[in-house]
Amino acid sequence: MENFEPIIVAFCCQYCPYTAADTAGTQRLCYPANLKIIRVPCAGKVDAMHILKAFEKGADGVVVAACLEGDCHFETGNIKAARRVSYIKKLMEEIGVEGERLEMVMLSAGMGDRFAEMATEVTEKIRKLGPSPINLNTSSQKQEAC
Amino acid sequence: MTFSVLAGLKKFNIDHKCEVKSIYEYYAKWIREGKLKVNSDWNKDLKLKFTVQDPCQIIRKSYGDPIAEDLRFVVKSIVGEENFIDMTPNRSNNFCCGGGGGFLQSGYVDARRAYGKIKADQILATGADYCIAACHNCHAQIHDLAEVNDHAWQTVHLWTMICLSLGILGPNEREYLGDDLKEVNVFHPETAL
């Protein structure tokens, strides 16, 4: 099902990754429109609940974007986020949803092109995985929600 | 020689009212003013390649790049622009020939030749047949270097080439010329005058 348009939620820390997304905009780099960005003060603020509820509500993929190691404005936010993401991946495998639908990335503010590259990679990966098994039967309804 | 006068004045701070200049400047001036009527036709078909050594004391350590330009103007006028190849690096950045500072008289021949290897490599890199050394120290050293580099080039004084291009170089003044120039433009005072 090639015309499958996954919906991917991206929780972006407002210091580096959100700025990187803006930088990608400033450099007018194109990437697929499947990524919907939600701004959070720090990657450490992304709660396990948010990630799981995103999948439950029908997300095909979730990205948690943090600052580079050592660059975190709050010292340990990105490290805690990484730990939480790997815990949730295991939980998703238990549920029966592929773990790689959840992705952790680290970016600095100037990496506009890396953000665009990441957005494209993630979208392709999720597209290959197909719709999330959670809403397999309701995926048609989701078609035009994109 | 110019340098030793200059250095001497400074060392013993003799207050001198005269100005010490290098001869290259005047060779170039005279050629430009047409007083010295050099011409490079002799080399038009011979096409011998020439390079020139920038003596440290005259160029880098005192008069700098301007004098190096005069020296090149003179050489190009006497051997023909197309036959001149510059060493790299050159002018104020040129490498020392390795013979200065009393090294020639010091007797450490092997060490001197070892230090001169860089200069030899530079000359070989240009592929020139002749190297004009306008300072007696450089001339002696480069000439000696030619010996140990199986005579890959001839080492000749600047005045020799100027006289040759003026056509006033006598048969007994061609000691440092290669056989290819031994017979060129020979000036026989007894017949010409």
Partner: protein, 1017 residues
Amino acid sequence: MKTVMNSHNESQSNNKVLVIGGGLGGIRTALDLAEAGRNVVLVEKDFSIGGLMTQLDRTFPTNNCDLCTISPYLSESVRQLPIEFLSMTRVTEVEGEAGDFTVTLNTAPRYIDLDKCTACGDCYNKFPECVRFTPGLDHRAPTCMRYPHATPQAFSVDMAKCNDIQQVVDICPAGAIVPDDKGTTQQISCGAIVLATGAGIFDPSGLDNFGYKNQPDVVTSLEYERILSASGPTHGYLLRPSDNEKPKKIAWIQCIGSRGMQKGASSYCSSACCMFALKEAIVTKERFGEDIETTIFFMDMRTFGKDYECYLERAKNEFGIRLVRCRPHSVIQRPGSNVLSISFAPFDRSELVTEEFDIVVLSTGFKVAEDVKKLAQDMGIELNEHNFAKTSNFQPVSTSRPGIYVCGMFESPKDIPETLIQGSAAACMASSNMPAPEKAPASEEDFPPEKDVTGQPPRIGVFICDCGNNIGGVIDVEELAEYAGNLSDVAVSKSVGQGCTQESMKEIQDLIVSEDLNRVVIGGTSPRTEELKFQDLLRRAGLNPYLLEIANIRDQVAWVHGDNPENALKKAKSLIQMAVCAVKKNRPLIEQTLPMNKDVLVVGGGVSGMSSALALADQGFKVFLVEKEDKLGGFAKNLRKTLEGEDVAGALGEMIEKTQTHENIEVITGANLVDHTGKTGMFRTGIQIGPEKSYRQIDHGATILATGTQPNRPAEYLLDQHEAVMTQADAGIFIEDSPEKVKALENIVMIQCVGSRCPDNPNCSRICCQAAVKNALHILDINPDAQIFVLYRDMRTYGFQEDYYRKAREKGVIFIRYEVDAPPNVEASGDKVNVTFVDPILNRPLMVTADKLLLSTGFKVDQKATERLARIFKLPRTHDGYFLEEHVKLRPIDLPVPGCFVAGTAHSPRLIRESIAQAQAAASRVQTILAKDVIHLSPVVAQVDGDKCAACLVCVRACPFNVPYINADGYSEIDPAKCHGCGICAAECPAKAIQLMKFEDDQIMAKLEGLFERKVA
């Protein structure tokens, strides 16, 4: 975008300061002054502010990219505070005197109306040749924008290069291009002027031996920074300029244009090149590949700043940066080869080595630009022989002309932390000849009373900007507005064209009032730069500013999905829907305020403590100066003269006298600190005074720690065991007090780095090299025949001290290097001492019988004392015991505990001049806090619901700033003044008892609901 804030009291000239130069120093000065209630006019000759700093990739010693820490600085500085920023403007004339200057400013035509331009870039895309956005700093590849968030965010047109002006004018959707813009000349009056004009960079193209002009792979440090920078021409990939290949071997050559090394080079040392060369080498290895070989050719490795020596050690040991101590003459590209070869004689063996490199970086030093020199002369400022502003040791930021101050590079070449210190110091001095600001800066403009929306059903107003064709060109704004119109609870949905222009903002404001809206959603640009502006708009419309949600449909939709408008529209719809659902859950948040205690506690009565106290007292602040000894003066008491020959004792005596008699300063000597509680604006510190230890509590609003450090007296080289051996400080007194004995001296030996740069005191003490040179010159003044030997590891006479080092060499002082693992040996021999050392050139041991042996012993922290102080103030310290500041690079005076500042050698070893600058800077930082009558606390803080909390300690352990604690009632409590708003505790709490205001769980859930609303019932 409006950049000229309505500086409300134009006429009142004596409360206005002119800052010339919008680099980092100028911005720091402008920010400090504005926050302290002054009006500032910031003038920058370039298109946007930021100066050198914005072109650097990563900066030492933190090695992280400070772009995102500095850009908020820049936009914040222009937006909120009473700062009038004039770009492309030069100062042409200055008249008047301190307190009442009249300055003529000439603004070059930008041909673009700053209010209208939205930096959409259409003009630039169509006419790159005549529309300037980038000054094309590196002469090869123009960057698309000097840095992504330039302030002002606007283009400028070079009319000369425009062949068809009308076409350019038409292309601009916002009609912002003004072809007949002639620029303006205006006169302003101000009370003080600060020169923050920065420095030009030495242009090495004149040095043909380095081949900079014709070999693309020979680059200056700044160009190498641009190559490394993510916003640079190579987008952050390290590529060789000549063929865009990945380099394998890179060399740095130090002192290009400095230390009188080449034709046209300045004779002083540029102070920062060693450090940024090391940084570039480390970043190259760290980010681009361990296998890249990095070599630095240098004479002295001058890493004298705070923890810089450890940075050097890390570079050598951890990153394997190869340091070669020699000066290569030339960089040659053999004809035919594409690599650069450098021949050099290594220090440890006498042979010629030739090595090949892919890139050679020339560490170019700094010099005063021609236009700056001319400007200073026109202003009647006395310059030193290197054309830098002449200043004295005891007034480091004051120029020769009263009322005009200098900071940053134009005072002397320095690194970024010192520039920022002088920036703040200049702000303090500038406000010293102006009356204290009458009323607090009107940050709360007269906003209408806030409408109480609790309990009201949500009535949302959705306003979609089309931002010129930035958004409108890709997304059908009308359809989007219409789609938003029929979302639930949306009362008004309109497209408002140029959202951020005055007219549209007015339109929105009126609609909020007329339609009685209680929630607002803006579909526009990035909240990172727009949020503050629209929050003010809501305030003006009588709404709590936090009832706002911004959907970023420009930077993250229109600009990046231009290739697929249909998807872009769908995404925009999703984002708007997410915003609408989320805004329903937004709650009005109030910014709490606390009353401000305006007194200041200064700990430590040395030169730094007294300077801070005097600077603050002159401004009318009450200062408590606490000193543990029974006399003021600190370490400076045992110094007589400075390197430049200024009399220390006299000036110090004067300062002590002034401090003790100043009516705003209460001096408490023989006092020890015991406890410290409270927070900014309401501190309380307990001290014990005198032998009977009577306890007293002082209430104050801010704290300055100027506790200094200890002169080091290691038991080495027979110090304190032989009368011929003394420290440089002792020698300073000996030379002054008994010149006749000095006349009798024959041989004098000095040994550098005694007790510094060694395992138990790893950092450099910074002041000993210049002390050695000072004493040597003073000895030779008295006794020209004396023979002086200086045994050193690295001569670190940075800045203008280099001239004195050269003067010492010219006068016959012999400087000899020794290796750290082969130090000199000292034995007593009668009343003299025999010093044996290995001469590196002869490679043979030599022995000198010295009448006097002077040891450069430097500083060492009294661990016990600082550890006790650190515990009282809960302050972190560096591994060798100095107080650790909040940000090593950008906040060198503020301490991590808000309201506490550090000055002088308590921060790190430094000269008197640098300590006084830091003391004045600390005074300025204090004024930025105490200027306000109340302290504003950010509302984005975590709040704990006591009933839900299971007191499980997860938040106490998770908080990076250990703010939460379990209170008396047994549940976690978070002090809003201390919370940094990161939200980590909220995410970790197992009982879901903590919510971070403005990012509450149900707000984020609402966004997810909005995104998938149509799918899940």
